[in-house]
Symmetry: C6
Subunit: 274 residues, 6 copies
């Protein structure tokens, strides 16, 4: 089940062999290709569950590059990105972190939800994201010059981030940016139908609920219903669960505990599944 | 008494061999089965002591899957979930954490009171809870692809959580949700009678006290009396302790130190054990 | 002087061979026996120095069970309770913590001043305090099923705890509770006379001072004079120290630095030792 | 790709063999040379992306000195600068940190964004920046006297630093200072045209957008568009991306998420790319 | 100069062979002897530099017991008191901390400025300070029963402690207390003359300054001039320094940086050294 | 370049072989000699860059004692002062910290900017600074009695310290104090001329600027221009840099980023270099 990286190809486990399902929306595929041609560092901005991760997987597959992904978090230290010394039978041995692995051997490195990492951690990417394209491993005493195929991509959700969790201007200025949103109704219906294995009419009903929920963001909902949640709802309905039970389980209760918002969401479900 | 995991079956200690006592309330068993059929990640919501843990044990037994349980806490680090390097006579050796153990070998992994863990820790479950179903062990340099039988279940109590302790929207959207509450009086009476080994009349008296206490939540009580506490009360009464002494010991004093709430609880006990 | 635990009986050092002096107040001995018969987890509530620790020692002796005691503090981690890997000539070796020792081999485990530990640490006792009676050693990969003789007892002082230091409802609901207070004047006099080796008249004078001091809690004194302090006072008087000097040293100055409270305590001493 | 430092020349990896592209603005090159002649410690002040790092690379190349660069961050400890003991097959072995490496063997040491490091960390540079020019390695028990070629250079951005992140007066007084700003329109046009490989007319249009954006700093923008961002924009336009799409991707969205500021930036782009 | 502890007598370095100079004030020597006879734990309260440490040294010498002293601080952990595992050529080896050393072999253990340690650290002394007189070494799995000669003494300064730094009532109640203050003028003059080697008249002048300074505590001075400072002043005057210069150096400037308080102190010096 | 300490003289690297340039101001040299004769602990108070460090170097040279200097910081732990166990091929080995090194072998130990260290760390110096003159190495189990030549000197700047960073009264009272300020104009002119190698007239102009800047402390400047900065300015002017350019680089911009203060400083420069 698990895939340890062989010495001969340290990135073997990170290669994507099957084409991920991705439905392009506007020109984002071409723009990414232009950016990759010059190895420009990229920010993918957009709400939860709108397809940013799937997009970068798709592009890595299309470009034939391995993809090293990290879910950022506040505990993440520079050493978690860059590597550390491990103790061995023969003393200490250097272990490349994911960022170093990608930079050294030429992968796309994807830092998911980069603003979750502390600003202090993310400064280690600075020398990789300007003309130097190098990564100093201070604790090892080595300067890694990035592989020509290496590119850095980060993502974040500008919607509910507090000011305290933002990229520093000096980090942000090192990236070009692509903006994502939930697909329009036609495209989202097509995606939900395909992924959940349901017909387009049912998918369109579910998309209607989601679009209503996204308007509730003005009323205190952190996030609307995502495409991913619609796929869950569709799968359970296909499986025989009553539509309202499925929506209750995968859309309404999954989204919030607030009584008022729960009532508003249930009205939406009732409207689309009368 | 203890059960070290043999190499031949690393999940042996986590298999449930005797059917746990569980009294289904509504359609939750069928809904869980649908969710498990598609390995949808699940949230179990509900108050303390209403039976969420018992339910997941019951479902694991019914589905014949091992159950790896973790009581979350704020000290829990990503390494506590995922694993770490341990020092050995021959140097460092990787030790799978409980989440990795479950993902690699195909258990249900149950994170009890997930909101107690920091939001930063819980992002490690992201790649396991979308289409990728994989767990990157960054510190080992391995990508674990989840076993087909693996499912992730988490629980929490929406009642007394502060806003500071909530799941992040981007985590929450990865789950379908089932909601639990204390059972209705008839079912709870049946459970208390069965578990404490007392007759239904006495069980009904105790359930009366509990239902009254749950109404006190508006008056500042964090939680009402749980089913588990009623079982303790019943056991001591069966054992010869006077009902009021047993209620004082297992219900009233166990629940609060506040003089006003103590008086209100004692009135409830007096009303049901005149 | 010290007693390392032999391999043959890992709890040998924790057995209580001499009957501790304990003067029962009401029905607490019988109630404890009922609770122990069903291994109900127990909270002992009451003010500092009223005899909670002595009581649990007495019960452990009476029931013939070893007693493993831990003074809780905020630095205490889950590993301090459960155990950790230690480095050995042959690599790492697992070392059971006190809670694991008690659970594995069948002792009463007593967590003194449990609210001093962080709520996050105390969640590790959850699986030991419901029907599962097990302790997962996540870092070792072992599930310890509690020995049939194992019981968990915790204590705390509800008097001067701030709201920030309280048990979480989900922890608290797992316990039955016994409440303690300072003994009434007759019993306390008997205890002080016995323990300090003084006559009952002198002991009664000291008890009078203590009872007065406990009324000062309304005026800002954190705690009144405890039985233990009276015993100190009695010992020094028996030893030839003038009563007022002894009270000044063991009761007044030991209790507070506040000038107003010091004056009030000295008035009490003057009143009982005219 | 990577360049481990050979024992024969521990600074080999830090030598700059190709002349970095740098377009002098005023007398900064001569002033740096004067400062280096006396090894005066230097502060480079100026906004993000205006060329401070490129300047120090250029000067290191011009002076024929190796350059050891550190991106400062709040996690950086004194040991990260100075060095630490590492465990080896033969016990512990001292590993010089980057500052020690530079001081011992005679490099220019460049601490980028020095105010990101805690003030407490930066006091280790004090004995290197007065007449003593020495570095005590307290944990090793060695006093390193700086190599005659060693110089310390630090940079920071006075624009958006909070008062909390400032150099201590006792640190600051040890440095002479050079101030940088974005180059004037003519010079910046020349740089953008050269670096992006575009003609001067297009470069001038881009510079116009940048100059407008820098005026928005009064309206809440943390930083204006930097020269580096203009180069990104030019590269993509040269590559066939429509100018407005390129500006949207590399200038507008990359700079901010604020709707009002986004609108203002788009007006600037429209004005220069009608 | 240094005295490593030989295996044959682990407390050899802690024995006091020469009688410390101590000038008894009231009955404190007899009261200490009574307390030690019953091994009562003792608090010594009083202002900085009034002689608490000297007193406990004197009593240890008088009683012929070794004295193990610890200056408490906020970083002090339970392990610093109790001991820890150290790594050895043959694996880990237990190292008794100072408290364990004293308890195991029978020294007086003196925790200087106990309120500087966190309340959480100090709970480890609880089982040593009640009838149990034992110290559980949880991490070693050993219960140390205190040596019959062991006594615990702590000190603190009630004057300028904030409420946040106070002993917990449950800790404090375990101690009897002796209160110290600066000696009266006659005794202090005698001490200063003896220790500084000056005549009584000069000593009396210095004591006059100190007594005046102690009255300034109402005007914002944290502490008055201590006996120790007077001895410094006397030594320098005996050595030929002009009295006003000596007072400026050892009394005035040493005590405060506040201009108003400095002026007030200088007036005091002028008044006594006209 | 570096000087590892030979076993034969562990303080060899800390001996000062060339007389440091120091221009005495008032009687500070004689007062220091008196203090050293009795090994009184000393505080040197005064603003940044006024010569405290140079003075202690000068005194160490004059007295023929080695000087062990530490720049204090908030990360500094007691172990950084006192020493620690290091892992060796044969297990752990004790490594004396700088304070222990100085105390054991008889150096002057100089803690520069002592208030930067936490108050908790500095309590370790208490037993070295009273009559005991000893240093307990708790973690080693050794009591070091200070060498007869050992003296402790600390420095700090009372000007811009917040109340939070102050010495505790119980620490402060252990020291005599010498106060420093910038030298008067004549002396400072002489120093600047000597150190920068410029004539007295130019030095006097620079001193004029500095004296003006020190008056700006009332208007928000943290510190005025120090003697050290004037030396930098003089060196560059001697080297051919125009006086105003040199002052801009070494005095004005080096001192502040505040536009109003920058303007005020430039007026001062203009006034003295018309």
């Amino acid at each position: 089940m698990s895939a340890p990286a062989p010495v001969s190809d340290p990135l073997a486990a990170y290669r994507i062999t099957e084409a991920p399902y991705y439905r392009p929306c506007s020109g984002e595929v071409a723009l990414y290709q232009h950016a990759y041609a010059h190895r420009l560092p990229l920010i993918l901005k957009g709400p939860t569950g709108c397809g940013k991760t799937r997009f970068v997987e798709y592009m890595a597959w299309k470009l034939g590059r391995p993809l090293v992904t990290l879910a950022c978090n506040e505990d993440m230290t520079a050493a978690d990105l860059v590597g550390r010394w491990l103790l061995d039978a023969d003393g200490t041995r250097w272990h490349d972190g994911p960022l170093t692995l990608a930079a050294r051997h030429g992968a796309i490195c994807y830092l998911d939800e980069v603003v979750e990492a502390r600003q202090d951690t993310t400064v280690v990417i600075h020398p990789l994201t300007d003309a130097r394209r190098m990564l100093p491993l201070d604790r090892k005493g080595e300067l890694v010059h990035a592989h020509p195929d290496f590119q850095l991509v980060v993502s974040y959700n500008p919607g509910y981030q507090s000011a305290a969790k933002d990229m520093k201007p000096s980090t942000r200025q090192r990236f070009a940016a692509l903006e994502f949103d939930y697909p329009d109704a036609t495209v989202e219906t097509e995606i939900v139908a395909h992924e959940a294995g349901i017909d387009a009419a049912l998918a369109a009903q579910l998309v209607g609920v989601a679009q209503g929920s996204r308007a509730l963001r003005q009323q205190g909902l952190d996030e609307g219903i995502s495409t991913r949640m619609l796929i869950y709802a569709g799968i359970l309905i296909r499986d025989g669960v009553a539509p309202r039970d499925s929506c209750e389980m995968t859309l309404t209760r999954a989204l919030t505990d607030d009584p008022d918002l729960l009532a508003a969401l249930r009205q939406l479900v009732d409207a689309h599944f009368p």
